[in-house]
C-alpha cells in the first residue's frame, strides 16, 4: 500500500494529457521541441528534481540554458502539484483511518450491547427462577400451615376421644363380665339363652368397634405428630403402618395391601411430613387401582421397606392404571392433577418429592400405562 508520504513519480503528479500539454507549452516557450519524460532519454537530458528526488528528465530545447530554465520551471510547478497531492493523500489516509476507527468503535459498541443483552436475559432468567422458588415456597408454607392446623384439629379430637373411648372400652368389658354373671343367675330357657347370646355378640361388636376407634385415634396422633419436635428419630415402619391404617379407613378397609416391612434403622426426620408423604403415595396407589380397568382383576398394593447400602428404601407399588406417557413429565409439577377438579390438589407428588429432598433423599417413579406404578423413595440413614 502506498503511503501519502511516498515520493511521487511523474505519473503520480501529471497524467499523460497534462504531460502533453506541459510539453507543448514548454516547446512553445523554447526555440526547439521540449520533451519531459520519466526515463532518461539521452545523455543531454537534465534531471527535474523535486524534494531531492529526480521525478523526470527534460530533453530537447534549443540549448543547455533553455533546458535548465525549463527544468527549473517544471520543478517549480511540480512543487505545487505535489503539495496538493500530499494534502489530498493525507486527507484520504486520515479519513480512512478515522472511518476504520469508527467502525472499530461501532463493533465494540455492538459487542458490548450484545453482552448487556445477554446479561439482561440472564437476569430475567434468574428473576423468573427466584419467582418460581418464592411461589413454591409460599405454596409449601401454605400446605404446611394447613397440615399443621389439620394435625392440631386431629390431635385435639384424638385427645378428646381418647378418654371417653377408654372408659367405653373398659365399661364394655365390665358389662360383658356382668352379662356372664347375669346369665348364670337366669333360668335356663331357650329365650333367655338366645337373648344372652345376642347380648354377648352386641357387646363383642361394640368392644371391637371401640378398639378400632382407639386404633384410629392412635394413628391420627402418630400422623399429626403434633406433640413431636420438628426433627426426631422416626421409625419408618411405624409411620408406614399408621399411613396404611388411615388409607384403609378412607377406603372402608377394601384395599389389598401387602406389607413386606423389613427391619430398618430409625432415621432422623420430620414424622408428620413423612407420614403425609406415605399417605399421599398410598392414596395415589389406591386411586390408581380404583381407576384401573375392571377386567384387570384384583388390585393390589405392595409396601416394602429395606436397607440398601446407607439408605432406607421404601417401595410402594400398585398394579393400577399407571400414568400416561404425556403426563409423566408433569406429575411432579405443583397443581398438576389428572383427577376431576375438586378431588385433588395436584400437590401429592410435589410434596412427596420435596419431602424426600428435604431429608436428603430422592423419589423415583416408574410407571407404565395400564400396568401400574412403582414409587421408590430413598432416605439416607444418618
Amino acid at each position: 500500500m502506498r503511503n501519502f508520504e511516498d515520493d511521487p513519480t511523474l505519473q503520480d503528479l501529471v497524467n499523460s494529457d497534462q504531460l502533453n500539454r506541459l510539453n507543448q507549452s514548454l516547446t512553445a516557450l523554447c526555440s526547439a521541441p521540449v520533451q519531459l519524460s520519466e526515463q532518461r532519454p539521452g545523455p543531454d537530458a537534465v534531471p527535474v528534481e523535486f524534494n531531492l528526488e529526480t521525478v523526470g528528465w527534460l530533453s530537447g530545447a534549443g540549448s543547455a540554458e533553455e533546458r535548465q530554465a525549463a527544468a527549473g520551471m517544471v520543478a517549480f510547478l511540480m512543487m505545487f502539484i505535489a503539495k496538493y497531492r500530499l494534502a489530498a493523500n493525507l486527507h484520504h489516509d486520515a479519513t480512512e483511518a478515522g472511518y476504520a476507527e469508527l467502525q472499530r468503535q461501532n463493533e465494540a459498541l455492538k459487542e458490548s450491547e450484545a453482552r448487556y443483552r445477554e446479561l439482561s436475559d440472564q437476569l430475567q432468567e434468574k428473576v423468573d427462577e427466584q419467582v418460581s422458588v418464592i411461589n413454591q415456597t409460599q405454596q409449601e408454607l401454605y400446605e404446611s400451615a394447613r397440615l399443621r392446623s389439620v394435625g392440631q384439629l386431629a390431635a385435639g379430637v384424638a385427645h378428646e376421644i381418647n378418654n371417653p373411648i377408654g372408659f367405653i372400652s373398659s365399661n364394655l368389658r365390665v358389662a360383658r363380665d356382668y352379662v356372664k354373671e347375669l346369665g348364670e343367675a337366669l333360668p335356663e330357657t331357650n329365650a333367655n339363652r338366645e337373648l344372652l347370646a345376642d347380648f354377648n355378640d352386641l357387646l363383642a361388636e361394640s368392644i371391637d368397634g371401640a378398639s378400632r376407634i382407639a386404633s384410629i385415634v392412635s394413628d391420627l396422633k402418630t400422623f399429626s405428630s403434633i406433640d413431636q419436635a420438628d426433627y426426631t428419630r422416626c421409625s419408618i415402619n411405624q409411620l408406614l403402618n399408621s399411613a396404611i391404617h388411615l388409607v384403609q379407613t378412607e377406603y372402608q378397609h377394601q384395599l389389598n395391601i401387602v406389607e413386606r416391612l423389613n427391619e430398618v434403622p430409625e432415621i432422623s426426620g420430620h414424622p408428620s411430613r413423612l407420614s403425609q408423604t406415605f399417605f399421599n403415595l398410598l392414596d395415589n396407589a389406591a386411586q390408581a387401582i380404583r381407576d384401573a380397568e375392571p377386567e384387570k382383576g384384583q388390585g393390589r398394593i405392595l409396601v416394602k421397606t429395606q436397607v440398601q447400602a446407607n439408605e432406607v428404601q421404601i417401595i410402594i407399588q400398585d398394579n393400577g392404571c399407571g400414568i400416561p406417557e404425556d403426563q409423566r413429565a408433569k406429575v411432579f409439577d405443583a397443581f398438576f392433577t389428572s383427577r376431576p377438579i375438586g378431588s385433588g390438589t395436584g400437590l401429592g407428588l410435589t410434596v412427596a418429592r420435596d419431602t424426600a429432598r428435604a431429608h436428603g433423599g430422592q423419589l423415583q417413579l416408574d410407571t407404565r400405562e395400564g400396568t401400574g406404578t412403582r414409587v421408590l423413595l430413598t432416605l439416607p440413614i444418618n
Binding site: 503511503n3 508520504e5 500530499l86 493525507l90 486520515a94 483511518a97 478515522g98
Partner: protein, 222 residues
C-alpha cells in the same frame, strides 16, 4: 520505521515535530530550513494554513550520500497541534523514526503540554510505536517570553524520564533549534546504526551523521 530500498540503495527516515497548538513546531522547521545547510536540502513545503495555523503538515526533506553510494533521506514533518486534527496527526505520525516534542514554556500552557504528550503517547500506540523506545527529544520553546517556567524546575521535573535533559529553545530567534535537532540525530543514529550498520557498511560514523545532516549555513565549506 525506516524505509530502505536496496535497489536504489536509498534509506528514508522520518522525523515528526509534535506538540501542543502554537508551541512553535512550524517555526522550528522554518528555522531549520534557513539555518541548516546539509549536503542536500529540498524545499520547505508548507501545506495549507489558516490564520497561520497548520491545517495539514509542513515538510522539509534533507539528505546526504554515503561513500558507499547510500542515498540517505530525512524528512522532517510537523503535525497540526489543534485538538480537532487528531486523525491528521495520527496519519503523519505513522512510521515515524524519531519525534521532537515541542513544548510551550509559558506557565499557563503546562496543562496543554501534558495533554499533547498524552495524545502523542496514545497515537504512537495506535500506529504501533512505543514511546519508551522511539528516539525522542523534548524541547521547551519560547524561552524568550518573560516569566516562563524556570529551566531548573523543568529539568528536575523531567529528570527521571528517558528524555532528560530537555533542550531549551527560542525557535523565533533561532536559538536551541539546531541543538534540539542534533540531539535527535544522535539518538536516531543509535537505532539506525543497529539496524543498517551505517558505520560498518556505509562508513558513516555517528559524528559524521550528525554533522553532515545538521551543518549550519554559517559553517558552509568547513
Amino acid at each position: 520505521m525506516p524505509d530502505f530500498s536496496p535497489d536504489d540503495n536509498k534509506l528514508a527516515l522520518k522525523v515528526v515535530f509534535y506538540g501542543p497548538a502554537l508551541s512553535g513546531k512550524t517555526t522550528n522547521l522554518m528555522q531549520l530550513h534557513s539555518l541548516l545547510n546539509p549536503e542536500r536540502k529540498g524545499e520547505l513545503m508548507v501545506l495549507e494554513t489558516r490564520d497561520d495555523r497548520t491545517l495539514f503538515f509542513d515538510m522539509l526533506p534533507i539528505g546526504l550520500r554515503g561513500r558507499s553510494g547510500l542515498d540517505l533521506r530525512l524528512k522532517l514533518y510537523t503535525v497540526p497541534g489543534q485538538v480537532q486534527h487528531d486523525s491528521t496527526r495520527k496519519a503523519v505520525l505513522s512510521r515515524a523514526d524519531g519525534v521532537v516534542f515541542v513544548a510551550d514554556s509559558q506557565p499557563s500552557h503546562q496543562d496543554n503540554n501534558a495533554i499533547a504528550f498524552g495524545n502523542l503517547e496514545e497515537n504512537l500506540e495506535k500506529v504501533g510505536l512505543d514511546i519508551d523506545t522511539l528516539p525522542m527529544v523534548v524541547q521547551f520553546n519560547k524561552r524568550d517570553i518573560p516569566n516562563v517556567v524556570p529551566e531548573q524546575e523543568l529539568q528536575e521535573r523531567w529528570a527521571e524520564t528517558p528524555w532528560s535533559p530537555l533542550v531549551m529553545a527560542s525557535a523565533l530567534r533561532g536559538e536551541g533549534v539546531i541543538e534540539t535537532f542534533q540531539m535527535l540525530l544522535d539518538r536516531l543514529y543509535t537505532d539506525i546504526d543497529n539496524e543498517f550498520h551505517l558505520a560498518r557498511d556505509h562508513s558513516i560514523t555517528r559524528g559524521e551523521f550528525v554533522e553532515r545532516l545538521s551543518r549550519s549555513s554559517s559553517e558552509r565549506g568547513v
